[in-house]
């Protein structure tokens, strides 16, 4: 199971992405569990909203952080997220 570069990505309806004030970080919540996210992972997942494909996520983040060459890191993370069931593609 790997990311299809053509398709848009949705966040899983069986998980919740949420900012935690007490922890000052984003977390993923699911039955009996919680994953704490670093800033870059959270930025990627926030764009998994059903309107962006992988290339569009890369473009948005490279623009936002005024940098380039993020494609490999982002694709690797998206594959991990897919395998963990945090995101899905239609």
């Amino acid at each position: 199971m790997t990311i299809n570069p053509e398709l848009t990505i949705q966040f899983s309806p069986l998980h919740r992405l949420q900012w935690e004030e007490a922890q000052q970080k984003y977390v993923i919540l699911y039955p009996e569990g919680m994953v704490e996210l670093n800033q870059s992972s959270a930025e990627i997942l926030k764009l998994c909203d059903g309107t962006h494909n992988p290339a569009q996520i890369v473009a948005k983040l490279e623009e936002k952080f005024a940098t380039s060459g993020l494609s490999n890191d982002i694709t690797n993370f998206l594959n991990i997220a897919l395998q963990n069931g945090w995101i899905k593609q239609a």
């Binding site: 919740r16 949420q18 007490a22 977390v27 919540l29 039955p31 009996e32 919680m34 069931g85």
Partner: protein, 374 residues
């Protein structure tokens, strides 16, 4: 007070709200205290809302509505709505008894995140025997309705000697019902399970066989279903990191408002567990004698004190140390380094002898009549 180190207090992350000790089921492995009938009082709606708000403010985010049977509370939807507004991820831990489709929809609209349905066995006969109530058919229906209404479906099966032989059928049942998560919870021997241990503890051979079957299934359904496997610590040689360490992560509130570091802590002597009617969650968590009792490592005895694994398992479970050794400061007897390990081995041998001889003891069911004996 055994140990206190205020600098190292981490905030609670998990709140277990035991809304009521009332339960239509009578499972003989229930983790509620044996003498629960002594505590019939239940917090009111406003008390629970205040508890939820205070714990959330400190950083609690995972919330379990449990019991007894939480559906016995008429204000459940109101509490769920309050929890959602506060940003909790809320879990209803239920037998499914009394759960209708209308209620499932109502709870979803109130903001409930998931429902964990317990099933006692893969066959109606055994399920209804263990539950002490005819519930099997209804539980199957509830599991399907939970799925139909878009909740992650978490199926929980407590494993013990009476049902461990059904492992293949239990796994097939979970697959047929479309469970997203399957919790295979090997019985932990506290409360009623401690009382019924001779009749519930599987033999090592049974446990090994069941674990192999569960492991193969886990690989087969990878990506479709997640399996939570709660290990039977009697067959380990190191204790579990109970509650992730005392007063570090977990907060249980009993139906009458008593605050506990774990749901069995009420059995420990001299803790003077505080009540949320008298203190705020912040006072209870940070300042109470109870929550500071086994924080850190100062309270430890040998062999824990000089053990290089004490930061990993925190000396194991205080309740288990008390139940077996009569000393809540001692090393969890599960540990092979504990001088009391023989007590666990004797418990295993005692249960094994009864299992192999076919002289099964009758189960003592968890109900008010039996509870009043304690």
């Amino acid at each position: 007070m055994a140990g206190s180190n205020k600098l190292n207090i981490t905030p609670p992350r998990w709140l277990l709200a035991e809304l009521s000790y009332k339960c239509p089921l009578q499972c003989p492995y229930c983790s509620n205290p044996l003498d629960y009938a002594k505590y019939p009082d239940e917090l009111g709606t406003e008390d629970w809302k205040r508890v939820l708000s205070q714990a959330r403010k400190m950083g609690a985010v995972q919330l379990g509505f449990s019991g007894g049977e939480p559906l016995t509370r008429q204000d459940l939807s109101e509490l769920v709505r309050h929890a959602r507004e506060l940003g909790y991820y809320s879990n209803l831990i239920t037998s499914g008894y009394g759960l209708t489709e209308d209620k499932i929809v109502e709870l979803k609209q109130a903001g409930l995140d998931h429902i964990q349905v317990s099933i006692q066995a893969s066959t109606q006969e055994l399920n209804d025997h263990i539950a002490g109530t005819a519930t099997y058919q209804h539980k199957q229906e509830v599991a399907k309705l939970v799925k139909k209404h878009g909740y992650p479906m978490v199926l929980c099966v407590v494993i013990h000697r009476q049902n461990i032989h059904q492992m293949p059928e239990i796994l097939a049942m979970a697959e047929n019902l479309g469970a997203d998560y399957l919790e295979l919870a090997n019985t932990q021997y506290y409360g009623w399970a401690h009382l019924n241990r001779d009749a519930l503890l599987p033999t090592r051979e049974q446990f090994v066989e069941a674990e192999e079957i569960a492991q193969a299934f886990k690989e087969k359904v990878a990506g479709k279903m997640k399996i939570y496997y709660v290990v039977p610590d009697f067959y380990e040689d190191r204790p579990k990191a109970c509650m992730n360490g005392w007063g570090t992560t977990f907060l249980t509130i009993a139906p009458d408002g008593t605050a506990l570091p774990c749901h069995s802590a009420r059995e420990l002597p001299g803790l003077d567990c505080p009540n949320v009617k008298d203190f705020s969650i912040e006072q209870i968590w940070n300042e109470s004698k109870t929550f500071n009792f086994f924080r850190g490592t100062e309270w430890m005895q040998e062999p824990c004190k000089s053990c290089d694994e004490k930061g990993k398992d925190f000396g194991g479970c205080r309740c288990q140390a008390f139940l077996f050794n009569g000393d809540m400061y001692s090393t969890d007897p599960v540990c092979s380094k504990s001088p009391e390990r023989h007590r666990i081995d004797e418990a295993i041998a005692s249960a094994r002898e009864l299992a192999l001889s076919g002289q099964e003891k009758p189960l003592i069911f968890r109900n008010s009549k039996n509870s009043r004996q304690y």
